[in-house]
């Protein structure tokens, strides 16, 4: 029914309803993507634009394209974006100062160039070429039609793109890779190293914080058998924060006890 209507150039009612419902939402989301402040919101709006595009594809009987659009763009590419945004720290706002001189002008020129190129390409592709029609294009099945085009006519372009993507992935790995000078110290190595030390004092682990029976708290250093405090019993984080009680009080106390 739908494909018939498309074939004769009119739009079926369900499709029109879908279009007038989704298209404004998609445009609003696209505008919002540029205007919202938080990067994650912007990414979400972009994801919505992609999903609504997929709906349009499906409505136009390009089932495979629509579904792959969701799997690849929404599911993989946007997800990676979100990932990075979350890891980098979302609340850090972008600085509006140009770091590269003349970047804004160059960017605008490049955008216009690409836009012009695309327009002329699409115009040349569409003009003078009679439309075959959806029925003929989907003749042997939508997926089969796409597959035979991809793996016969466009196999070279397809392979070039895949080579490019693999190169990009490898490049990212090379950039992110750092050569290890020494092997990673695992739990086992740490344990061996502890026992290799001349004194076996630390091999049983560090003393636990807190003074027995009086200050059973993480911010109080433990007392050693001779009454002196052991600062090593307190977590390094607490020390760095300064959330640590002065150990001198306990030292005095220990001496007093000794005198008694």
């Amino acid at each position: 029914m739908l494909s018939l209507a498309l074939h004769s150039g009119t739009t079926a009612t369900p499709e029109a309803v879908q279009f007038w419902f989704l298209a404004p939402l998609a445009v609003l989301a696209a505008l919002g993507m540029l205007l919202v402040k938080k990067a994650v919101h912007s990414a979400l709006l972009l994801a919505w634009v992609m999903v609504s595009l997929a709906f349009f594809y499906i409505a136009q009987d390009a089932l495979f394209l629509g579904i792959v659009q969701i799997v690849v763009y929404t599911g993989a590419v946007m997800m990676l974006f979100l990932f990075i945004l979350m890891l980098v720290g979302v609340d850090s706002s972008d600085s509006l100062v140009e770091t590269i001189k003349g970047q804004r002008g160059a960017a605008i020129a490049a955008a216009l160039g690409v836009g012009g190129l695309l327009t002329s390409l699409i115009a040349r592709a569409v003009q003078g070429v009679p439309a075959v029609g959806l029925k003929d294009a989907n003749n042997g099945g939508n997926v089969q039609g796409l597959a035979s085009e991809l793996f016969t006519k466009y196999v070279w372009a397809f392979e070039v793109v895949s080579a490019l993507l693999i190169t990009a992935a490898l490049g990212a790995m090379v950039l992110a890779h750092s050569q290890k000078i020494k092997s990673k110290t695992a739990q086992r190595d740490l344990s061996i190293a502890r026992f290799r030390k001349d004194s076996l004092g630390a091999s049983a682990g560090l003393p636990a914080p807190g003074v027995f029976a009086r200050h059973n708290a993480v911010d109080v250093p433990a007392l050693l058998p001779d009454g002196s405090p052991a600062p090593s019993s307190i977590s390094a984080t607490l020390k760095a924060r300064g959330d640590m009680l002065d150990s001198k009080i306990f030292e005095l106390e220990a001496k007093e006890e000794e005198e008694n």
Binding site: I67, I70, V71, M79, M86
Partner: protein, 407 residues
């Protein structure tokens, strides 16, 4: 008449009724799943499990649901309010989508119409399920991010990394099914399996799918996203009341969803067990639904069994397993499966294909044995490596003492 035509003739109201039925079935199955999981795990741990509310504690799930709904709904101050509310909605609405393309019965009559218990039949039905799952990840990621605290963020990142990597393995395991059946539509794949289930014909795919479906649904032993000892509740730490209930519902519907997909792709869907094909006509075809449900429940039991048996994996081991074992194994298997497919398409007889398959298995086994041996040797060398003796006396290593005694 194939399924697409059969379903294409459905009037709108019938599709609506079917959609409602599928939704109700999912919710009902979730309630039963929660109850049966608790009972089965309890039995495995020598306990009784919930047995107070209703006969055998059957309505426990409902009672818990009501309790959850009546709890106070908290939104943390640091949370991003809109995203915090949207996240569980995304999670729960995508998990139901996959049921639209799963054929639950053969041809049946419903309210006087000849139809099948499947909402719609697409030529790319299986991909549709993958797409729904990949949007479902957003629920988890956004829940983690929008909560505005550390544990959920880490849990969300973990679980989305996990779901994405296991989705790759899952997608690859499905490729062999597409190659063999020559279709990506669920009903067509089921129809192709009437003589031989793909669980047998494509055994490696089946194994890879089984493993990755557990990883994909964040279930034990792969439930690293909510590892209580490390991350409290993971991505849903800050959620309470109905929003938490939605995540809970989504998790169980997802489990049933991947089980239903496994049934459809590998266990012959609604078809009866081999040798019992005559039962498919009982109850006017509705008996096929019982077969389908029995298979889905069998998969669900495996999920529970795993949870009752295996301890949780360490995160790096888990990721290593996914990327370095499952994905290369599936790629290799796809290559093998497509060569066999090509062989049989070019007219090779069945015995030739089987002989080739046996050859591949023997070569693989030999390679694995050789690899294991060389690994053992290198490990031995490492263990006996030149380490300086410690400065205090230690007992001799037994193997060294043996060498001294003999040499």
């Amino acid at each position: 008449m194939n399924f697409a035509d059969l379903l294409g003739n459905d009037p709108g109201w019938l599709t609506t009724v079917k959609a409602f039925l599928v939704f109700a079935l999912c919710v009902l199955l979730t309630l039963l799943a929660i109850w049966s999981e608790r009972r089965i795990v309890a039995r495995m741990q020598m306990r009784l499990g919930p047995n107070r509310v209703g006969p055998f504690g059957l309505v426990q799930g409902l009672a818990d649901g009501v309790k959850l709904a009546l709890k106070e709904d908290l939104i943390p101050k640091a949370a991003d309010k809109i995203v915090f509310i949207i996240a569980p909605i995304i999670s729960v609405s995508t998990c139901f989508l996959s049921f639209a393309v799963i054929p639950m019965t053969g041809k049946v009559s419903l309210f006087g119409h000849k139809t099948a218990m499947q909402l719609t039949d697409m030529p790319v039905g299986v991909l549709f399920i993958l797409a729904a799952a990949s949007v479902g990840v957003y629920g988890i990621v956004l829940a983690g991010w929008s909560s505005g605290s550390t544990y959920p963020l880490l849990g969300g990142l973990r679980s989305s990394a996990q779901v994405i990597s296991y989705e790759v393995a899952m997608g690859l395991s499905l490729v062999a099914v597409f190659i063999r059946s020559g279709s990506m539509s669920t009903s067509e794949i089921v129809a192709q399996q009437h003589s031989l289930w793909y669980a047998v014909a494509l055994f490696p795919s089946f194994v890879i799918y089984l493993i990755s479906m557990v990883g994909e649904t964040n279930r034990a032993p792969f439930d690293l996203a909510e590892a209580e000892g490390e991350l409290v509740g993971g991505f849903h730490t800050e959620y309470s009341s109905l929003k938490f209930a939605l995540f809970f519902l989504a998790e169980y519907v997802n489990i049933i969803g991947v089980s239903a997909l496994a049934t459809t792709l590998f266990l012959g869907g609604y078809h009866a067990l081999p040798g019992l094909t005559f039962t498919e006509n009982w109850l006017g075809g509705w008996f096929t639904m019982i077969w389908f449900m029995a298979k889905v429940i069998a998969f669900f039991f495996i999920f529970v069994w795993l949870r009752g048996t295996l301890p949780r994996l360490r995160y790096d081991q888990f990721m290593k397993f996914g990327w370095k074992v499952l994905i290369p194994a599936s790629l290799f298997w796809i290559m093998v499966a497509s060569s066999f497919r090509l062989m049989s398409q070019r007219g090779a007889s069945k015995s030739v294909v089987i002989a080739a398959a046996i050859g591949v298995v023997i070569i693989l086994l030999a390679a694995i044995t050789l690899f294991d041996r060389s690994k053992e040797k290198s490990e031995e060398r490492e263990a006996l490596g030149d380490v300086a003796p410690p400065s205090f006396p230690v007992p001799q290593i037994p193997s060294q003492r043996a060498e001294q005694l003999h040499g």
